[in-house]
Amino acid sequence: MKSSMQKCIGLLVVALMMEQAFAQDAGWVDSIDGEMTSVTLVRHGQINLPIHPYATLRAGDQLLIRHDKTAVVLATADGKSHRVVANQSPYTVTISGSAPSIPGNVFKWVSRLFSSDDKQSDTRTLSARSVSFSKELGVPYPAQHSQRISSGQRSVYISWTGGLPPYQVRIIDESTGKPVFESREIRFGWIGTPPIDLNEGSYRLIIEDSAGARNQRIVEVLPPSLLPIMSEGDSLRVLPESTARIIEASWLASVENRQWVLEAQQRLHKLSATETTAQTVLKQIEQIKIE
């Protein structure tokens, strides 16, 4: 009785497999946690077929898992995965779920209008793609001092760590109170804005996650003439230009109480399109813990 109920749950809940007429592949074994020898595949009554990671599965296949601590992770070309454990054995690979329909989408949209837990359902779906959602929302810019960046029309690259996606980023002009940039539904811990006019003055950078955590910093936009000058700059001339620019940007990130991290990021981000070292340095700067 218990076994058949488990089968039913497997059949109903798991939206894993879809039928294909040209080939019966319904998915594959993504990984096996535990003893591989304790897993058996049964197809058309034929038992003891070889099972290994990336073995393709067909609708109707059965998985027998004999060891309590062994689990098989199944995946489909829909981009989904599902973990099957010993107490679900024998587990029948099956087809369930259906493609969304327009009336269904309209119904979901209307339901969300009246739903109070919309945010929660969104984050549940998205958490799988978040690398660091369990960590606290953090930015690589020290809180004690404002950040500095040179003025002009420019794209701004901003990054953060942790928090729960989707994120929202705003850059507000302190003199007018109006946002010069605003973006919602950001899934990853960084964004590059389209070119914006950064006139000299104070701006407020606000990063919020979907759990309501918020990090904000004052950003001072200064004329390029106020950028710190590296005293050893001349000695860098012997190096290839891109290397010199990477060194200069890393130096910029470390001076004046780390107030120029944002400016350094802009330079490294630009260089990272062609220079792998710049990408590594940028990553290092972004991962420095801010006390």
Binding site: A77, D78, E185
Partner: protein, 458 residues
């Protein structure tokens, strides 16, 4: 000054009273409402490019796409199944988190993808600089270039801002493959660039990217989706695209691109390069993530049922030796979705990897072509009919009730019609009528208050 203002105001009120005397019959009510309504429609038509109206029209299109998200394709239109060989987070980890896609792994992915004989294989991977492990990749690509086969490869061209600021173009970046591979029509380069909206979302595709080569010569690089559609549509379409590209490419890098009034026929779709901003909207219908109870829709292709989109993790191919089968003639894309690739972008259907944006754009062009509004002779009578209906509602239910009933009524009539027509690439814009009705309501409220005041005075 205030005397003059007050005098002008009084004259306006007199004129208004002459045009709109207090209505006594239903016909007078209707006549006045229609005049106000048509004035509102005229105003909106004049100001349709203002930020407020434009933003609402964009949002109405976004909403339509959300309603089509993940749904089945139109059966009587061409459709191709897509296979996305995805360098996902786990693949990236399994490969030791390299900063760039290892060329040996890429060679292996291309080999497996070619064995399945797709019509088009898009390699959405950076191929600018040579590396120390290119031998295998060169061998695979050279073999493909020299042997006959059903697959055309599309490589993505990189672009950068010109260092010479007096040139109006981006610079097309050279790839190490440019010098190595033989010239063949079965290996083409295309632009992966899309328009970026001020809110950071990608909504629009581009026909091509005008650029200057590093040698200072003007070049026009067709977009990936347009190149793919031309390949899928056959030799005549490829020739038409080549002709169009030759026609619009300027003679030197200091001149603006030429324009063309000629239509661009690609298979069953005919494109106009002089379209408005809405004509180049990508009809996004393939979201990146599905809900638990959802699957990808199936299409009928070469007499077989197959998922419209198949996502195969690259590690399953390179590390696991998996060889999934796909029908001949599908469209394959090799690209990355892992976070370090920094190739994830916001779209009306949420964030998705750049490769999936390319897939959506190709699918959008194959199925719907350019999105277009119904002709003006359909739009204006529709607006007039709606306003007549709304007028009746206002006469019957003055004040708030009328406003709610008319707005809801318009939505109930227009939204399903719009949803139905949208599948054929026809955009019955319901944002404009809704804005019109809202403005009409405001005007009617003012008109009614004015009439009430007049009634009290007399």
């Amino acid at each position: 000054m205030s005397y003059w203002l007050s005098s002008i105001r009084k004259r306006c009120v007199v004129l208004f009273d002459r045009i709109f005397p207090p209505p006594t019959t239903l016909w007078q009510h209707l006549q006045q409402n229609l005049i106000i309504g048509m004035l509102v429609v005229l105003l909106i038509t004049i100001f349709q490019n203002t930020e407020f109206v434009h933003k609402h029209r964009e949002l109405s299109l976004d909403w339509l796409m959300k309603m089509y998200s993940g749904t089945a394709t139109i059966e009587d239109r061409a459709a191709f199944p897509f296979v996305f060989y995805d360098i996902d987070e786990k693949t990236h980890e399994a490969w030791g988190e390299p900063l760039f896609v290892p060329r040996q792994k890429l060679a292996s992915l291309i080999t497996v993808a070619l064995q399945q004989q797709p019509s088009v294989l898009v390699i959405d991977v950076e191929l600018l600089h040579a590396s120390s492990e290119d031998t295998e990749l060169q061998k695979v690509l050279n073999t493909h270039a020299t042997l006959e086969g059903p697959t055309t490869l599309i490589f993505v061209r990189g672009f950068k801002k010109a260092s010479d600021t007096d040139k109006p173009y981006l610079t097309a970046r050279d790839s190490f493959l440019d010098k190595i591979l033989p010239q063949t029509s079965r290996q083409v380069w295309a632009s992966p660039l899309f328009e970026l909206d001020p809110d950071g979302q990608i909504r629009r595709w581009k026909f091509w990217q005008s650029a200057c080569s590093s040698a200072g010569k003007p070049t026009t690089v067709p977009s990936v989706q347009l190149a793919a559609l031309a390949i899928l549509s056959g030799p005549a379409a490829r020739q038409a695209l080549d002709n169009m590209v030759a026609e619009i490419t300027p003679s030197n890098c200091h001149l603006a691109p030429r324009t063309s009034n000629h239509p661009l026929p690609l298979g069953s779709q005919i494109f106009s390069i002089a379209t408005d901003v809405f004509g180049q909207r990508v009809f996004f219908s393939l979201p990146w993530q599905l809900a638990k109870d959802e699957t990808r829709p199936e299409i009928r292709f070469n007499g077989q049922n197959i998922r419209l989109l198949n996502i195969v993790p690259a590690r399953a191919v390179t590390e696991g030796g998996m060889r999934p089968e796909f029908p001949l003639g599908h469209v394959a894309v090799i690209g990355a979705s892992h976070q370090d690739a920094r190739d994830t972008h916001a779209t009306p259907l949420g964030s998705m990897p750049g490769s999936l944006i390319l897939i959506n754009a190709i699918h959008s062009l194959v199925q719907h072509g350019q999105i277009h509004s119904p002709p003006l002779w359909v739009q204006l009578p529709t607006a007039a009919l709606l306003l007549i209906a709304v007028s009746f509602v206002f006469i019957k239910f003055p004040s708030l009730k009328g406003a709610i009933i008319s707005l809801l009524g318009t939505l109930i009539v227009l939204a399903p019609a719009s949803l139905y027509l949208f599948r054929y690439g026809i955009w019955l814009d319901f944002a404009l009528p809704l804005i019109a009705i809202k403005l009409f309501q405001i005007a009617m409220q003012y008109h009614r208050q004015h009439m009430d005041r007049k009634g009290l005075q007399t």
